[in-house]
C-alpha cells in the first residue's frame, strides 16, 4: 500500500501546481494588494477610498444580484415545474426546446441585444406601441439597473432551469402522484412536494449564478454606464483609467467576501441537511 500511496500523491502534484500557480497565487496577490499602498506599505487606505467612493455601488451590486437571483429562482421553478407537471406534451416540448437558447449566447452579446431591445426606442417599446398597449409618449427606457437585472435573469435562468428541471425529472414520479391522489393542485404539488425535494440543486444553481453575475463586466458597462454602477465597472475604471490597483483590489476583496458568504451559506445548508439525514 505504501508505494501505491506515494504514487497517488505524486500523480496529484501537476494538478495541485496548476491550481497553486494559476489560481491561489494571483488571488493571494490581489488580496494582499488590497492591503498595501503603491509603495508596498501595509494600509487600510484602499478600503477607505473604496468605501468613500463606492459604498453606494456596493449596495447597488448586492441588490441587483439578489433581485436577479430571486427572479431567476422563480423563473426556473416555473420552467422546471411546467416541464415536470405540465399536461400538454406539445407545450412541454416547445418550452424544453426554447428555454436553453440563452445559455449559448455570451454575456456581451446578450447585453448588446438588450441595448436594442429595452432602450427607450427599442424593439420592446416599439412593439408595445405598435399593438396599442403603450402610448409613444408613455414609453421609457430600461437602460439602467432594471436592464441589468433583465439581462442577468434572461441569461442565467436557463442555466438554473436546466439544473432544476433535471433534478425534478429525477424525482420519483410516485411522490407527485401520491400528492395528486390526495387532492393537491398542481401549484401545491410544485410548491410543497417538488421544490422542497430539489431545493439543494436550486441553491447550487443560484450560488453559481450569484458568483457569475458578480463577475460580469460587460452587462453593467453596456446597459448602465451612469452612476450608480456595479463593482466590476468600478474595478475596471480604477485599473484602466486611474491605474489604481490598490482600490481595485479592495473592491475585489469586497466582491470576494460576498461570493464567499454565498458559498458559506450554501455549504452550511448542505452540511445541515446531511446531518439531518
Amino acid at each position: 500500500m505504501g508505494p501505491n500511496r506515494n504514487i497517488s500523491i505524486l500523480l496529484t502534484v501537476p494538478a495541485l501546481l496548476v491550481v497553486a500557480l494559476l489560481f491561489i497565487y494571483p488571488l493571494g496577490f490581489s488580496l494582499v494588494g488590497a492591503f498595501q499602498d503603491k509603495a508596498g506599505v501595509w494600509t487600510l487606505g484602499n478600503f477607505g477610498r473604496a468605501w468613500e467612493l463606492y459604498r453606494l455601488d456596493t449596495a447597488f451590486t448586492v441588490v441587483i444580484v439578489l433581485v436577479s437571483c430571486v427572479l431567476i429562482a422563480l423563473m426556473s421553478i416555473a420552467i422546471g415545474g411546467y416541464l415536470t407537471l405540465g399536461e400538454s406534451p406539445l407545450a412541454k416540448s416547445i418550452l424544453g426546446f426554447l428555454y436553453r437558447w440563452p445559455l449559448f449566447i455570451p454575456f456581451i452579446v446578450a447585453a448588446q441585444c438588450m441595448r436594442t431591445f429595452i432602450a427607450r426606442n427599442g424593439m420592446m417599446n416599439m412593439t408595445l406601441v405598435y399593438f396599442g398597449i403603450l402610448d409613444l409618449d408613455q414609453v421609457q427606457g430600461f437602460l439602467d439597473w432594471r436592464g441589468i437585472v433583465f439581462t442577468f435573469v434572461w441569461k442565467q435562468t436557463p442555466f438554473v432551469a436546466l439544473m432544476v428541471a433535471g433534478a425534478m425529472a429525477g424525482l420519483d414520479r410516485a411522490t407527485i402522484e401520491a400528492a395528486r391522489n390526495l387532492g393537491a393542485s398542481r401549484l401545491r404539488i410544485l410548491v410543497e412536494i417538488v421544490v422542497p425535494q430539489v431545493s439543494r440543486t436550486l441553491a447550487v444553481g443560484l450560488v453559481l449564478s450569484f458568483v457569475t453575475m458578480m463577475s460580469v463586466l460587460s452587462v453593467p458597462l453596456m446597459l448602465s454606464g451612469q452612476s450608480p454602477s456595479m463593482l466590476t465597472v468600478n474595478m475596471a475604471w480604477r485599473i484602466n483609467s486611474v491605474g489604481d490597483y490598490g482600490t481595485a483590489n479592495a473592491l475585489g476583496f469586497v466582491s470576494y467576501l460576498m461570493t464567499g458568504f454565498a458559498a458559506w451559506f450554501y455549504l452550511r445548508h448542505g452540511m445541515r441537511e446531511k446531518a439531518g439525514q
Binding site: D172, A174, T175, L182
Partner: protein, 358 residues
C-alpha cells in the same frame, strides 16, 4: 366506509399499444381483490386506470354506482399505496400522514388527533416527528399505508407495496395489511406478481394475461381448478405433458406416448372431450417418484432418469428427464443422479385441457 367497485369493459392504451382489452370486474364492498399476473400483463395499468393516473379509452369505472372514469384522481374516493412508498423525504412521519387532511382543510388539532390515531393503529407511536428517511423499509411502508388510510378512502389501491421489503418482514406486513383491511372493512385492490402473496391476502384473485382477465375466483379455486393452461402454469403447475386420450364413461384412457405409459384415469377430462390430444399440467409437489418398473393405478406414469437434484428445504427437488421433456418432482428421499425412476402423477393432481386451448 367502503364501496362497490365496478369495472365495465375498460380499455386503456399507451400510445398505439392497447394494454387493457376490455376488462370487466365487480368488487364487493369490503372485498380484498388481488390482481395477479406476470410483467406487462396490464395489472399495474389497470390499477392506475382505476386510480385515475391513466385515462380509460373505453368503458366505465363505477364506485357506488357513479361513473368516475373521467374524474381526476382525487375525486374518486380512492387512496393509493405505491411500490416505492412515495413518501415525501422533506416531511416528518406526521406531516406525511396528515398531508391529505391538510388538503381537506381540517384544522390543526383535528389533524393531530387523526394522525395520532393512525400512528397508533399502525404501531408507529412515537415516530410522528421522525424524518421518513430515518425509518426502515417496513416502517416506511406503514407510513405510506397510514397516509392513504388517513383520508378515509372508500377504496384502497395497493401497487406492489411489499415488493421492496425483505422476505421475513414481507410476511409480517402481509398479515398486518390483511388484518387492517378486514377490521376497517375497506375495499382493497392489490397488484402483485407474487402468487403466494395474492393467495394469502386476497378474498378473490384476478389473473391477468395480455390485458385481459384469464380467471377470477377465490384463491383455492384458482389454485385447484385453473381454467386454462396459462393459469395452471402461472399458479405453479409448470410441468406439462401431452398425450392422446379417449373418453371411456367416467374415465379417460390414455394411450402410451413419448413420455408416458398407457393409463386409465378416473377423470372426465375437459368439457365435451371425447377423443384427441390432451395437455396435462401438474405441480412438482403433487407428483411422486417411484421405482422405474413400478406401476400405480389411476396415475399417469412417466419413466425417466434423474438429471438434477436440489434441496430447497424439507424435501428434495429433482429434475427428471423423460423422453425429450424434463419434469420437476419433489420427493422426501434422497436419490442419486442418473437413477432410473418413474414420475407418478395421481389422476386428481392433473389439470387437463384439450390441446389447442391456450
Amino acid at each position: 366506509m367502503s364501496a362497490r367497485l365496478e369495472i365495465d369493459r375498460v380499455e386503456a392504451a399507451y400510445g398505439s399499444t392497447r394494454v387493457l382489452k376490455g376488462v370487466s370486474l365487480d368488487v364487493a364492498p369490503g372485498e380484498f381483490v388481488a390482481l395477479l399476473g406476470s410483467s406487462g400483463c396490464g395489472k399495474t395499468t389497470l390499477l392506475r386506470t382505476i386510480a385515475g393516473f391513466m385515462q380509460a379509452t373505453a368503458g366505465e369505472i363505477r364506485v357506488g354506482g357513479r361513473d368516475i372514469a373521467r374524474e381526476p384522481p382525487d375525486k374518486r374516493g380512492m387512496a393509493m399505496v405505491f411500490q416505492s412508498y412515495a413518501l415525501w423525504p422533506h416531511m416528518s412521519v406526521a406531516q406525511n400522514v396528515g398531508y391529505g387532511l391538510r388538503l381537506k382543510k381540517w384544522d390543526r388539532a383535528r389533524i393531530d388527533r387523526r394522525v395520532g390515531e393512525i400512528l397508533t393503529m399502525l404501531k408507529l407511536d412515537g415516530f410522528g416527528q421522525r424524518n421518513v428517511t430515518q425509518l426502515s423499509g417496513g416502517q416506511r411502508q406503514r407510513v405510506a399505508l397510514g397516509r392513504a388510510l388517513a383520508v378515509d378512502p372508500q377504496i384502497l389501491l395497493l401497487d406492489e407495496p411489499l415488493s421492496n421489503l425483505d422476505a421475513r418482514i414481507r410476511e409480517d406486513v402481509r398479515h398486518e395489511i390483511k388484518a387492517l383491511q378486514k377490521s376497517l372493512g375497506i375495499t382493497a385492490i392489490h397488484v402483485t406478481h407474487d402468487r403466494e402473496e395474492a393467495m394469502v391476502m386476497a378474498d378473490r384473485i384476478v389473473i391477468l394475461d395480455a390485458g385481459q382477465i384469464a380467471q377470477v375466483g377465490p384463491p383455492e379455486t384458482i389454485y385447484n381448478a385453473p381454467n386454462s393452461p396459462f393459469v395452471a402454469a402461472f399458479m405453479g403447475a409448470t410441468n406439462v405433458v401431452r398425450f392422446d386420450a379417449e373418453r371411456a364413461g367416467e374415465t379417460i384412457q390414455v394411450a402410451p406416448g413419448a413420455s408416458n405409459r398407457a393409463a386409465r384415469l378416473s377423470r372426465s377430462g375437459p368439457q365435451g372431450f371425447a377423443r384427441g390430444k390432451l395437455v396435462a399440467h401438474f405441480r412438482s409437489e403433487a407428483a411422486e417418484l417411484a421405482d422405474a418398473g413400478a406401476d400405480f393405478a389411476d396415475s399417469l406414469m412417466l419413466p425417466g432418469k434423474i438429471v438434477q437434484a436440489a434441496y430447497p428445504g424439507g424435501i428434495w427437488r429433482y429434475s427428471v428427464a423423460v423422453g425429450d421433456s424434463q419434469f420437476l418432482v419433489d420427493a422426501p428421499e434422497k436419490r442419486a443422479l442418473g437413477d432410473a425412476v418413474a414420475v407418478r402423477v395421481p389422476a386428481d393432481a392433473l389439470h387437463l385441457y384439450s390441446a389447442g386451448a391456450s
